[in-house]
């Protein structure tokens, strides 16, 4: 499906490239999602493949989706971008860094570029985090998002498992 990748914009930041996924990106993605750092319950390679597909299908359906984050001229270090599956009440921005690439500001830098790109393209944007995930919450705050206690939650989620940080809208 090379026609799909052509529709995914390429963004450059000071240190990073946000680019379309390739099949070869799945292995590193899967290794991360199978690890405890991903907070995915009962992960299996089959479930992770579905997550992988979900990250990127938004480009086809809505013109928004996820990118692979890569070091300039270097390996993939994570993913960031937008999801609006049927079970989310509004578009959501997420980020994840693979093992060994945390602590250098890469998530914040990549998500800031994605967020800037989405300005004017999406009328509302939130980030869902686990209330105990202090590092992810720190990224949301550095991006300027504010806790939104009144925001609708994803289907099946409750306040104990999902904290909402709002970037803008609705």
């Amino acid at each position: 499906m090379t026609g799909l990748t052509a529709d995914i914009p390429r963004l450059a930041t000071a240190r990073l490239l946000l680019r379309a996924p390739e099949r070869a990106d799945f292995d590193a993605y899967c290794a991360f999602m199978m690890s405890s750092r991903s907070h995915v319950a009962d992960p299996s390679p089959r479930l992770v493949w579905h997550l992988f597909a979900t990250e990127f299908v938004g480009w086809c359906l809505d013109g928004i989706g996820h990118w692979i984050i890569a070091l300039k001229d270097g390996p993939a270090v994570g993913v960031t971008g937008f999801s609006h599956p049927a079970y989310y009440p509004e578009p959501e921005m997420g980020w994840a860094l693979y093992d060994g690439f945390e602590g250098q500001g890469f998530a914040t830098e990549a998500a800031a570029a994605a967020r800037d790109w989405a300005q004017g393209r999406i009328s509302s944007l939130v980030s869902y985090t686990n209330p105990g995930n202090a590092r992810s919450i720190a990224v949301a705050k550095r991006l300027g998002a504010q806790a939104d206690l009144d925001a609708p939650l994803p289907q099946g989620a409750g306040a104990a498992t999902c904290a909402v940080y709002r970037h803008w809208g609705p």
């Binding site: 240190r15 500001g105 914040t108 830098e109 550095r142």
Partner: protein, 166 residues
Amino acid sequence: MRAPPEIQTERLVLRPMRAEDFPAYAAMMATDRARFMGGPFDERAAWGLFCHDAAGWSLFGAGALMIEAQGKIIGQTGFNSGPHFPEMELGWFLYGPFEGHGYATEAAAAMLSWAFEARTEESYVSYTDPANTASQAVAARLGGILDSEAPRQDPEDVVFRHRRPA
């Protein structure tokens, strides 16, 4: 010890700080705009920062200058030194309504030219928050080159290095 200079650019005047600059400075430091500098800050913390900015001139021979455009204070640029800075840092900020006109780049470029003329360092750095894409764009327009090896206080900072022109 060095008296702060006054610097003219095409559209701007960079001039020494005055006590009456503080209310607008403190008002900005109290907002979310200050988050890339470690804020928001209460008034007492803002006064500490304000004094740090001014004291650079007497303690290190390079500190901050206020930026004026058409008689209005629009922001600040200058050098940071001292125990919290591994090396001399060039910084800048604008008050909200004055963004988007290239003022930060124009002011910081003038500050940098002044330093290469008046001082002997071979380079200066700028520390930017990874989310601060606007400041990173200014650093790049100044000719700053990414320096991933530079010592930094916050390991997440994106560091640009400004080298003395050959």
